[in-house]
Amino acid sequence: MEQAIDILTANVRKASQGDVNARAMLYSRFSQKMFSICVRMSGNRSDAEDLLQDGFIHAFNNLKQLKDYNLFEPWLRKIVINECIRHVKRSASWQELNEELMDISDNENIDWIKDINFEQIHQEIKNLPGGCREVFNLYVIEDYSHQQIADLLNITVSTSKSQYHRARMLLKERLKQFADYG
């Protein structure tokens, strides 16, 4: 494990000095994970590729700003998320939902979700409608608060919460359908 970290920091150092091979290695190591984030946020591979590309270009051009090379992955993740948020602000439209209609308890039993494989969950998140998909990703996967989401997406906290509830309801319906019928 320590050796892996040493190799990573060595690669990041060399990449910050412009080494093409080191950059290629960082890309091959982290591209799939970052691409999955972009796909879940944007809902399609084509937009996700553009976001991934912009994220890595920004990262490689500003690598000298990173002080602790061990933190490359979270730093890159932040850059990619910011690219996704910029994309969302350009393209998403928001509708206010009636939160009272969202009848889901936070403490409900979720044992059913543990039987569903992660590929399917990833697909269903990706297939959520625009608006609630982005809020769901930021709130659940990236652990942003509703206040932070509201500030980033120029929406109200109430909109963020209602979009999240909508996403959760849809996800639950679709995943349970999959669990029941395969």
Binding site: S16, G18, M25, Y27, R45, I57
Partner: protein, 242 residues
Amino acid sequence: MDEMKKYLFDQRDKLDVEPAPSAAVWEQIMQHTVPVRKPVFSLTVRWVAAACIIMLVGLAIFLLRNNKPKPDVTSVKTTPSITPNPVTPKKLDTATREPAPAIVKTNHSSELVAKLQHKALKLKKVLTKKPALSPIDEMENGYAAIINSQLKQLESTPIYAESADYFHVFKKQWYDLEKDEQRIKQDLKTFGFTDSMIEQLLNLYKQKLLLLKQLQSEINKMNNRVKQIPGIHQNNPSYLKM
């Protein structure tokens, strides 16, 4: 507490299952990233040079210490001739002192010759001894040991639900890296050690390690997926041969 959020957040790394993006993405990234001027001497080369200097100094000190002349044996050994021989003291008393040193010398000369021969042999061993491994060789041996260990682990991992040929892309990359390694080593023999060649060799070893780790990760992911799908047979797994 939102249990669904907690569960998905804790397992978020397992959600990163989207197939890789197209190759065009990397090409675009390369075109749009700003090149940075490389320093003339990289840090690695400086460390290697420092290590070489330290080793040379150490070797020189070691050789000097071994070649340090020992005190003259004859002068030490003739002094017993002055003291009487404890076994036959009377004989020494009657004999004159002059022959005594000759007797002692004869007795000790063979010892002296043996000791000198032994010293010469040691010196010969030291001089003909293989020089200590250079930092480059040590680095190569280190990486080779790690790579071989990873390779053994990979080739002993069973692959379920797919044949070994499924990973032909990784195998091609591996073969390309092996070819590059041979080329660099040939260049090293021809042109000697240069900064850029040492860097290339280091990068190549790191790429090999990364490739093996990625391949191991892919196989593990695939096997985990297979385990989650009921009804898939896990008999007769295949094995990768790189």
